[in-house]
């Protein structure tokens, strides 16, 4: 469907990758850890390796959660945009097929948040 308008209604998307000064957006969801109210929105370099993203960005972001210290993110189960995904830790995000505004979902078996409440 399209907008019903008085004129040809066409606009550039506001969040195209070229607006991010060489960086791109990446979202990461850690299910059953609703202490972090929504998926993280991260600004990342496309040529950063997957391992560096986990070490330098994801780990500090999740650190306040008691499960974080026990989590083996690199050995965890990953989804990329809702599809099963096996990351290459040493390859860049781009070479892992992670494009702008992609979402990663990382499930850490055995770690299901606090109080049986997915928190």
């Amino acid at each position: 469907m399209s907008v019903n308008a008085l004129y040809d209604y066409k606009f550039e998307p506001r969040d195209k990758v070229e607006n991010f000064n060489g960086m791109q957006l990446l979202y990461v969801l850690w299910p059953n850890h609703l202490m972090f109210c929504s998926p993280f929105a991260l600004l990342v370099k496309p040529d950063m390796t997957f391992g560096t993203m986990v070490e330098e960005i994801l780990k500090p972001a999740t650190a306040p959660h008691p499960d974080a210290a026990k989590a083996d993110f690199l050995g965890a189960q990953w989804l990329l945009n809702d599809e099963p995904f096996t990351p290459d830790v040493n390859a860049s995000l781009k070479d892992n097929g992670i494009d702008h505004k992609s979402m990663l979902t990382v499930t850490t078996p055995g770690l299901n948040g606090l109080a049986g409440a997915g928190f």
Binding site: S38, P64, N81, M103, G118
Partner: protein
């Protein structure tokens, strides 16, 4: 011989001062004078069928409003002279006003602009006059709200730059984008969105919490504003119902168009009101009723009766109302948890509810509070007591349509985050729900332009790359005064000194209550 009275009766006066102000043009085509009336596909066959139940005319309007203003400002003066802010239940209450002043009052102004615009777009004089009066009402509400709350600005933080913040601060893009969406639509969609879906169906869920909340918490200034606005609101609600019935009665082709608007604007209003839900359950020290009770009375019962009544026009209840009904057990807690963790970037404070308040929530939310939400607060209270007050230092993903962080959970699965994603013309978009995703799919060109605060920060458009700079320089939030935890804040300390208590006992008590 009977002398003809010089005074017009009400009916004549209404006729002369509204309908007779219009005429059939002869030099210009009607279509050129009202060019925006047709493009949405709504068919109006006879504008004279428009009924104005109030039959208010401008002369009477000014007189009534002037009388109300006089009384209202007399009370504001008395409130200020008697230091009325000292009589509120607790300074935590003022945080509800901070949310109202930055989130709601600018919407009243946006409504003024919207009604002023559609008050020019209709070719029917009755509808034009009703919209023009509502435009003036909305402007008056925006002004009087600011005057009602300005006294608090002298004594508490976070109230100093509401209109500026409304255009910039991350969570205020939720109300702002709601109204921008409505105002950039055509005139009939605007009325369906604001007059019907918002003013008629949902307004009690905004006004009752804030105005009764003010009454229950000793805020004379705001509650007096509420009384002064009440008769206007009654008129607005009546207009909302008249609008929808009029459009539906004019042509059967209007039904599916209106149904889609009702689906969209019910959902957008419901998402906007999630901010009110947390205000109601968490920010009012003296509680009026719970969000779930308010939803049951004002939406499930009243809304249920309304949609029953509209059935004869072929209108069904809004799509996804089942999701909204289920969410009444969760959203206030989910929102408060979100604002608790992002308090570094808000113009109001957050806190862990005290023991009595948590017990009240257990009673009001027997199925959900103890199971899903109390453990969060117990964990965070413990962290706070050990010197690690929880803040989330990573920015959240926002929904492309409602702009709320994607924080909601699936219906019937309160531990599973609700998230949808789709690609449109090669770009990825993320949503908080099926309903927001549906809204996007219908008019993608509108929402691809969304000014999402998180993405704007990352693009470098908000005066800095780190949250602290953005908050201070771009949002005008004074760090350490307006934001962060309530316990130990300058507002908290000021309140204790007003009440003649030292901040130490209170902090101790707050910690004990929370533990």
């Amino acid at each position: 011989m009977a002398v003809k009275s010089k005074k017009l009766n009400l009916k004549d006066k209404y006729q002369y001062l509204t309908r007779d102000m219009a005429w059939e043009p002869t030099y210009q085509k009607k279509k050129d004078i009202f060019p925006d009336e047709d493009f949405e596909g709504i068919k109006i066959t006879d504008w004279s069928q428009w009924e104005d139940p109030f039959r208010l005319t401008m002369d009477a309007y000014w007189k009534y409003q002037a009388e109300k203003e006089k009384k209202l400002y007399a009370i504001f003066d008395a409130f200020a002279q008697n230091n009325g802010h000292q009589n509120i239940s607790d300074a935590r209450y003022v945080n509800a006003l901070k949310l109202f002043l930055t989130g709601v009052s600018p919407l009243e102004h946006a409504a003024f602009q919207g009604y002023a615009k559609v008050g020019r777009q209709f070719s029917g004089a009755g509808a034009r006059v009703a919209c023009q009066m509502q435009a003036i009402d909305e402007l008056r509400h925006s002004q009087t709200q600011q005057h009602a709350m300005s006294h608090y600005n002298k004594h508490f933080n976070g109230l100093h730059d509401a209109a500026y913040m409304h255009d910039r601060v991350w969570f205020l893009s939720v109300p702002k984008s709601f109204f921008d969406d409505a105002r950039s639509a055509g005139p009939f969609e605007f009325l369906t969105a604001i007059s019907f879906s918002f003013e008629y169906v949902l307004t009690n869920l905004l006004f009752v919490p804030f105005m009764s909340g003010a009454a229950y918490n000793g805020d004379m200034a705001t509650v007096t504003f509420g009384f002064s606005a009440q008769s206007d609101e009654a008129r607005h609600m009546t207009l909302g119902l008249e609008v929808i019935k009029f459009i539906l009665e004019q042509h059967e082709d209007n039904v599916p168009i209106v149904q889609r608007w009702i689906d969209k604007w019910f959902w957008r209003g419901f998402r906007l009101l999630s901010l009110v839900s947390m205000m109601m359950d968490y920010m009012l020290p003296n509680k009026v009723m719970s969000w779930s009770e308010a939803w049951e009375v004002y939406y499930e019962q009243n809304g249920g009766a309304l949609f029953k009544d509209l059935e004869r026009y072929g209108i069904r209840p809004p799509k996804y109302q089942d999701v909204a009904n289920d969410a009444k057990h969760h959203i206030s807690h989910q929102l408060w948890g979100t604002f608790y963790q992002y308090s570094q970037a808000t113009n109001f404070h957050t806190w862990i509810p005290g023991k009595d308040e948590m017990d009240w929530m257990s009673e009001k939310y027997p199925e959900t509070f103890d199971k899903y939400y109390r453990p969060r607060y117990e964990h965070w209270a413990k962290e706070h007591a050990e010197g690690r007050r929880f803040y989330n230092n990573t920015l959240p993903q926002l929904c492309q349509v409602c702009q709320v962080p994607t924080l909601f959970t699936e219906m019937g699965e309160p531990t599973k985050l609700s998230h949808r994603q789709m690609k449109y013309e090669g770009e990825r978009y993320h949503f908080c729900s099926e309903a927001c995703c549906d809204i996007f799919k219908h008019e993608p060109e509108k929402y691809v332009q969304a000014w999402l605060p998180v993405h704007q920060i990352y693009q470098g458009n908000c005066e800095g790359g780190d949250v602290e700079t953005v908050v201070q320089k771009y949002y005008h939030i004074n760090i350490g005064e307006d934001n962060f935890e309530y316990v130990g804040s300058p507002d908290h300390k000021r309140w204790l000194s007003i009440k003649g208590k030292s901040s130490d006992d209170k902090t101790e008590r707050a910690k004990r209550d929370a533990a």
